[in-house]
Symmetry: C2
Subunit: 238 residues, 2 copies
Amino acid sequence: MAKVEFNIPCTLCEHLKDSLFNGLSPEDLNKINLHKTCISYKKGQNIFYEGTRPTGLYCMNGGKVKVYKNNVQGKEYIIYIAKPGDFLGYRALLGEEFYAASATVLEDAKICFITKDHFFEVLQKNPAFMKRVVKSICHEMGIMEEKMAELAHKSVRERLAASLLMLKESYGMEGEGSTLIDIALSREDLANIVGTATETVIRLLSEFKSEGLVSFEGKKIRVLEPRKLAKQADLIIG
Amino acid sequence: MAKVEFNIPCTLCEHLKDSLFNGLSPEDLNKINLHKTCISYKKGQNIFYEGTRPTGLYCMNGGKVKVYKNNVQGKEYIIYIAKPGDFLGYRALLGEEFYAASATVLEDAKICFITKDHFFEVLQKNPAFMKRVVKSICHEMGIMEEKMAELAHKSVRERLAASLLMLKESYGMEGEGSTLIDIALSREDLANIVGTATETVIRLLSEFKSEGLVSFEGKKIRVLEPRKLAKQADLIIG
DNA sequence: TTTAAGACATGACAAAAGTCATCTTTTTCG
DNA sequence: CGAAAAAGATGACTTTTGTCATGTCTTAAA
């Protein structure tokens, strides 16, 4: 489980186009490049823990990472699954607080790290970059508001359907109408995304399967009937 | 239900100290002051609706406003209760999106409005102000992450206890150890904060009352035993 | 390849919470 | 003031969901 370093110049990063760094001047990009450390992580490795102090920003270059909170009883809720191009840990960094969540690798990942000082330097010199960051954060907040309202008043069945559709949208495999959810999620992880017990997810998933809404391909789930699933999620009335 | 205008210079506003505007130069404060419109709202009046486009920033000068989302079935979830000094609608404004929630007056309110352009002008000229806004937004996000995790895995009883403690902290009456929750909340509103049915809140509240954890004073609730309530909320182990 | 650990699956049961109906109390407004 | 509406309260019942036990299947490591 040793961390392995790698190095790809930011200007050549294939995920730059999906990142908030996109639009930065070559000079700023080079400044970040010069001060970044890039590390390969294996599945199961931890990136940061809730309650610790952030020292910089993580930028995903490959793989998948879950960001989650554990409650007193040890129950986990997955807030977000980070994919290449995503920033990680920027909320605590910009809020100047301790991490409110932990991050662990779901699929072998490559992650770059920029220290707080260098990131803030670039941030403060680029009002346009700052504006993009703020806009992105506010967009995230809107998604969180939506999720809270769902958790408050929707059934587990509805939430599972909604989660599957969200996963399809955000992590759908290229091509094939991107119907395959390209994350090897365990039933337990899926339960911790939906906010329910593992057994409940298992039961509902097999219901969805026998109703022809989804199919299982190895460890992955394919959404066969997005519209019917949307009805199950009560997103559309039909 | 007519809207009544009032006017108080920002520099003399008694809530400036609680506001993100605190720390702004007198010139910038005056710029905002010159371009603001201040209106009195009655209980039940709407400030903005989900799905509409924000045109500026609201700043609370008096009263209480609930910010909430309605789902397809008409069920409401209250995201936040704004009090004097708070900004309202800044998330959609900075995210350049439509409002994701609605806002309605809970207790007769006085609210000032600054157009988007004037707010952005002040924001962009003041990196320190921008930094405070970003910090505040990130802090809010941390609270939302906490609430999502609670909604996902805590019982209604635990969430009600946690909500009462939160309300005591945020809206506690001055003096008296600030044990009185100074909002005239209906049982229905409280249910929509906790994310449950009105009847369930009524039942649990009378349980808390008979257990001596809370008492009712008119339309308001007094927290008698915060530590015992914290145990009910599973915040402390005992 | 074998074995152990972890993931997945299913049944039985209990507990939590929602819904509906009804009634009382309080508030609002003509 | 007095009627109507809204809010609060309570009981009965149903549904949903969580928990525990147990068994099978898959995967990874020795």
